[in-house]
Amino acid sequence: MKTLKYIFAILILSVSFVSCSDDDENTSVEVNPVEGLAMIYEIPAADHTVQIYSEKTALEVGYNEISIRIKDKASDKYVTNAAPTWMPMMHMETMEHSAPHTMLKNDEESTVYKGYIVFQMAGNDTEYWEIALNYTLNGQAVEETLRVSVAQPADGLIKTQVFTGSDNIRYILAYVNPKDPQVAINDLQAVLYKMENMMSFPMVENYKITVDPRMPGMGNHSSPNNEDMIYNAASKTYTGKLSLTMTGYWKVNLKLLNANGDVLKGEDVTESNPESSLYFELEF
């Protein structure tokens, strides 16, 4: 009888374990596609709303990853066939210009259209950024223009460089990763664009960006095993390695080289030259 009791107890236990794991599986299916993102704008319309998300709580100068969802009020569902396009535009007092940006794509999550914009400058009361959105909804072409505020990064660190290279071309270099730097060898990622004209910012491929992280607060201490950033055709970004030996303030000194190896911007860090004119700043 005793053994029977034990067997019975074990059976009950195992059943409850099984049912537990079932529950877990059910909940894990429902992943919020905009989990961890902040909705920074919502554009209401008669039959739909447009939601704009970012990792940060506001748009900042530099690289901004942006996710857009369009909700059809009739079906109460996020549309997957809106095929949106966008165009950022800076309205200055005497002129207008655009900013480097990618296409919006929903290949990761069918209801979320993702892309990024590199804002070169901050807006103010008289000069401001607008994003023009074009998309189709229920067969109708829709255009929305959204005035957005773009501020300098709250931490005051420079992660975007707009400069004229020695080839007299204007370049825009923006830091992408690591977003959360570690005392480790970090995967370093940046995007590089050139300014063809006010409206056209093509991506620059096959250049090279050298990496020399330094701690000015520690006698310009550097770290080993950094790798220069080279163009990665798959991610369409420049990727390299960034070693950070401790937490604190780091200045990542950079040099931009074209495909021929000519230096377009930046200098070597030496005893007499403690920093390059091309750099990113990090704090963690």
Partner: protein, 679 residues
């Protein structure tokens, strides 16, 4: 190298009889007694035993300086030198090898310092007040205490061990003029055949000392106190349990040779033992112990005037371990077996405060929570023949290191992207010693081989600043095991009143671990000259030779002398750092009718074999002269002992090769010690 020269031979005999009574194993000592009367009763044959305080009531008058620090006691040993970074926490070296190449234990317990800069050798966590002796084994003769290259030191705690002495106690105080060191100590003991309890406490406080010529050495102060409790209970006639607890704390310790001081160095050391006279009929002196200790060490630069950057550097070291050991005698074989193991956690961090307070703090793990596991088996066999004996010994150990902290692992992966978090080794040691007696000559010779794993700093240190050579050091987790082939020889000529010993040893150390400059790396410490990576050299050679003698002039007067020479070179013939030049010491002892006196000279020749690459400069020759005088009084049944002395009588301003950054040593110093024992 078995010949054992107790520092105080008369006392050595006494101790041996006590040991004999304690171990209760009469047959072994008798066998030994036939060949070498001096060290006849030591069950583990060691090179040297420095007596510290066993049976204080009897021996104070024999001690040169009763309440001196443990460091000074160890320095009086002929085989140990002390590396000094200030007045406190000296680091013992043996055969010109320091902590990482030595096995240093307290009563058989493995303890590891918590300071990345070797500011807390474990010898700094005990005090003479609770020690009876330091057992010293050179080279693989020290393998009984752990994996070693240079040798082993075991600091034996003082215990009443069921001697029927009843209650006794003592009060002690000492004062030293040079650094106004005040020492207050006391102990209270009870012991009978069934139970004993030893308690003691000691407090030391010293101000800055002055070097010769009355030049103050700033930041050389210290303060420390130490409590210990030892107790034993006899479960049956042949069975007993005992327990030990030591609490040691030092505060406000200055390190004049370094850029930082220490605000706290604290150790809690505890153990529980079980002893049984016999086991399975054939084994004797079975002793088993479990132990635990925890050390916290906090460096402090807030009192230094011009630090380029303020930093906090706390470190922790925690060790749990056990050993069980027994003797086994079979006809002519006297075996000793020991099985031991420990688990250590070493963690240290550094936080730097940037000059611009808007910037975030700079943080790094200097020891990435390294977990060391070690399980070893030691065996020795001592085989006496007529007028000769052979000792064979071996230690086989499994040793592993694991980096438990991800932050630390990722930090090290900056240098070693492919490193594994765990590193496992099998460590071996073999030794054969031969002793032969020919009339008045004793001949000793031995060959041995030993291995050691890299220390936590050598394997996993992350930007450890060494002020000696002004370099940052980085460990290498992929270091090879260091191994050593060793040969030693000694000849003693012994007459009742006269004894002279010539001895030499040679270590051929393969994969010798030392910091090698890597010019591609950028310094971390502001003002450092470069970065060194711990690296295996193909080999290094270390050679030590010494001549020592003793002459009993009369019943009252005794003369002792010693001169030694050391040489250490790496695989390219370059000098190794911290190798002693010719050094000598000599003393005349007087003892009669409760009066004792001593005149001693100690010195070294010019250090010609130094290496600037390791931050060494040539150290000049020096000699110092010291004297002491003591008197023992009996007051009723109690015992009052007064000892006074002068060290460095001529107030010489000097430093030795062991002095970190050539910080000068103490100038003229008067001391007075008073101890009162209530029996």
């Amino acid at each position: 190298m078995k010949a054992l020269i107790p520092v105080f031979p008369l006392k050595g005999m006494l101790r041996n009889y006590l040991l004999c009574a304690m171990f209760g194993s009469i047959s072994v000592p008798q066998l030994y007694a036939q060949e070498t009367p001096v060290d006849s009763l030591k069950l583990i044959h060691l090179n040297e035993v420095v007596v510290i305080s066993e049976g204080k009531q009897l021996d104070h008058q024999k001690q040169r300086k009763p309440l001196s620090t443990l460091d000074e006691f160890l320095e009086s040993s002929r085989s140990i030198s002390m590396v000094k970074r200030g007045a406190y926490a000296w680091e013992p070296t043996m055969n010109d090898m320091a902590s990482e190449r030595l096995a240093v234990t307290i009563d058989g317990m493995q303890i590891f310092g918590a300071c990345t800069d070797k500011m807390d050798p474990i010898t700094s966590y005990v005090d003479v007040s609770n020690l009876s002796e330091a057992q010293i084994g050179s080279g693989q003769q020290g393998a009984v205490f752990g994996n070693t290259i240079g040798g082993g030191i075991n600091l034996k705690l003082e215990k009443s061990n069921f001697r029927p002495t009843g209650w006794n106690g003592s009060l002690e105080t000492a004062f030293e003029s040079n650094n106004s060191m005040r020492v207050f100590g006391g102990e209270l003991n009870y012991s009978d055949e069934k139970f004993y309890l030893n308690t003691d406490a000691i407090y030391r406080k010293a101000d800055n000392y002055s070097a010769g010529g009355n030049r103050e050495v700033k930041f050389s102060q210290f303060e420390k106190y130490n409590f210990s409790v030892n107790s034993g209970y006899k479960l049956a006639a042949n069975k007993s349990i005992s327990a030990t607890l030591i609490y040691d704390e030092a505060n406000d310790v200055g390190y004049p040779a370094l850029t930082m001081d220490v605000s706290l160095a604290r150790a809690v050391i505890g153990s529980l033992s079980f002893n049984q006279d016999t086991l399975f009929g054939n084994f004797s002196n079975w002793e088993s112990k479990v132990y635990y200790n925890k050390i916290k060490h906090t460096m402090d630069d807030t009192k230094r005037p011009d630090v380029p950057i303020h930093m906090d550097m706390p470190g922790w070291s925690e060790t749990a371990g056990f050993y069980t050991q027994a003797n086994f005698n079979k006809v002519k074989h006297h075996f000793f077996f020991k099985w031991d193991g420990f688990y250590n956690k070493s963690y240290a961090e550094m936080t730097m405060y940037p000059a611009n307070s808007n910037e975030p703090l700079m943080f790094m793990l200097t020891w990435p929570d390294v977990r060391t596991k070690d399980v070893g088996f030691y065996a020795e066999d001592h085989i006496p023949f007529e007028k000769a004996s052979v000792k064979l010994s071996t230690r086989l150990a499994y040793h592993s290191n694991t980096v438990a902290d991800d932050f630390g692992l990722n930090s090290l992966k900056i240098f070693y992207p492919e490193m594994e978090e765990t590193n496992t080794r099998f460590l071996k040691s073999f030794s054969a010693q031969y002793h032969k007696m020919l009339n008045d000559f004793h001949f000793n010779g031995g060959l041995s081989y030993g291995e050691r794993a890299p220390s936590v700093s050598e394997g996993y240190g992350f930007y450890l600043f060494n002020s000696f050579d002004n370099h940052d050091y980085i460990g290498d987790p992929n270091l090879n095991t260091e191994s050593s082939a060793e040969a030693n020889i000694s000849v003693t000529y012994k007459k009742p009143t006269f004894e002279i010993t010539a001895s030499a040893n040679y270590f051929h150390v393969f994969n010798y671990i030392i910091g090698v400059v890597d010019n591609s790396l950028s310094t971390m410490t502001i003002g450092a000259d470069g970065v060194k990576i711990y690296t295996n050299l193909d080999y290094a050679k270390l050679f030590n030779v010494s001549l020592s003698g003793r002459y009993t002039i009369s019943n009252a007067f005794k003369f002792t002398g010693q001169v030694s020479y050391h040489r250490g070179v790496d695989d390219e013939g370059e000098n190794l750092p911290l190798i002693s030049p010719i050094s000598y010491r000599s003393a005349i002892d007087f003892y009669k009718n409760q009066y004792s006196a001593l005149l001693s000279v100690e010195g070294a020749g010019e250090q010609t074999n130094y290496n600037p690459a390791y931050g060494e400069t040539k150290t000049a020759a020096y000699a110092t002269l010291s004297a002491s005088f003591g008197k023992r009084f009996f007051i009723n049944e109690n015992d009052l002992f007064v000892k006074t002395g002068i060290e460095n009588i001529l107030d010489t301003n000097y430093s030795s090769y062991t002095d970190w950054n050539n910080i000068p040593r103490m100038g003229r110093n008067f001391y007075l010690t008073i101890s009162y024992s209530i029996n």
